[in-house]
Symmetry: none
Subunit: 232 residues, 2 copies
Amino acid sequence: MGKKKHKVLVVDDEQDIVEILRYNLEKEGYEVKTANDGKKGLEIAKKFLPELVLMDIMMPVMDGVESCRQIRDIPEMKSAYIIFLTARAEEYSEVAAFDVGADDYIIKPIKPRALMSRINAHFRRELKNKENEEDIIKIGKFIIDRSSYTLHIEDLQVNLPKKEFELLYFLAESPNKVYGRDELLASIWGSDVYVLARTVDVHIRRVREKIGSQYIKTVKGVGYKFDMADQV
Amino acid sequence: MGKKKHKVLVVDDEQDIVEILRYNLEKEGYEVKTANDGKKGLEIAKKFLPELVLMDIMMPVMDGVESCRQIRDIPEMKSAYIIFLTARAEEYSEVAAFDVGADDYIIKPIKPRALMSRINAHFRRELKNKENEEDIIKIGKFIIDRSSYTLHIEDLQVNLPKKEFELLYFLAESPNKVYGRDELLASIWGSDVYVLARTVDVHIRRVREKIGSQYIKTVKGVGYKFDMADQV
DNA sequence: TAATAATGTAACAATTGGGTAACATTAAAA
DNA sequence: TTTTAATGTTACCCAATTGTTACATTATTA
């Protein structure tokens, strides 16, 4: 079973640099695509969806800053890592670079060995933080992340108190399944604590207040469920 | 705990210039040594191993070009930054200067303020492009450097005590992940030592005091996280 | 339809958890 | 050693979270 290669896009108008980077990246086992200007880079990024972009700032047709901005607008590229390659004289653009969503920049001349170790380190860290992804429920427009205790509704981060979060998380784990109040109490509050069943109602209400009332449905006489019926 | 000073060597046969530079550099917090000719400069460089050399081109005994060439032959000086100081009439030597490995040159008369900001900018760039990437976390406006136990917030260097640094580093390694007090104690203090969980709170407070309170978020009943939600 | 049961809602009370300061202890520097 | 900085502990206070109750609203059924 071959390991999945990380995808890297190199964008630079100097063909020498492109080739040096391609050579070194492929030697490290990355899957590389290249472009010679920002516009072409953007086009390739749309289809290739690289995890890392190495991009020159000064380029013909479309410069790196503008290209970067547009790459960031591609939904799948939101979490990609973008590194600018910059000549010494171009320092001015540092601020602009970070403004459009670059993650790092390196100053030419490029030292391939150092750059490779930097890139490897980046992916190593990425990997480490992927471990948390098991705790994430994506459902409809919601992302419910147990490792960070946050709820994302589209691009909005909502912070829920502990009980409310756990209630939502528990329900969302099994969409459409109806849970009685006792089950919820036992699972979320614990079977030893004694709180009134009506407490659940109040928490449901509080959750609804924050996520919108249509997602948690009441099944009269039975309990509650996280319902995805009328969601896309 | 004083910050580690960068080492700068000044070589010029005009004592006035040496003193002006020394005064300004020391005011900026650099550790300065000086010499009045290229030969002496070379000798000092061998022992002092400065990170930056400011060197006049026209000097008695050994001129700057030759001195620079030999400095570059010192293994530890390969990656030092060497700036030539040149009178306007000496422009011819520009080519020779870069040939022997100079990185930059400035034309006399020296404007101390401008030169200082140039030097400061150089060290900032150096910092951001450090070779030994493994121990460095760049996140938002923070650079957290484990190899020197320092924290940089934009251009400001902040020194954190050990525990505080490690707490910050640990949290920043996995941004947004919530860690309980026990996890933090186990990871940072070690699983064998016994300190109270509340100790974590106090250290969190001390870190917040230094980096600003908005970055480490409390998740009540759960723990703490380094939160990047409202940062660019 | 009225009567009844179930749930929604708001206001309030109780509790828990965390912030903070002050102090105590330990380690490091001078 | 003395002095200073770092770390750990404790106690008090405040505020968010949570739980409870009373009442309003809605659904269900006779």
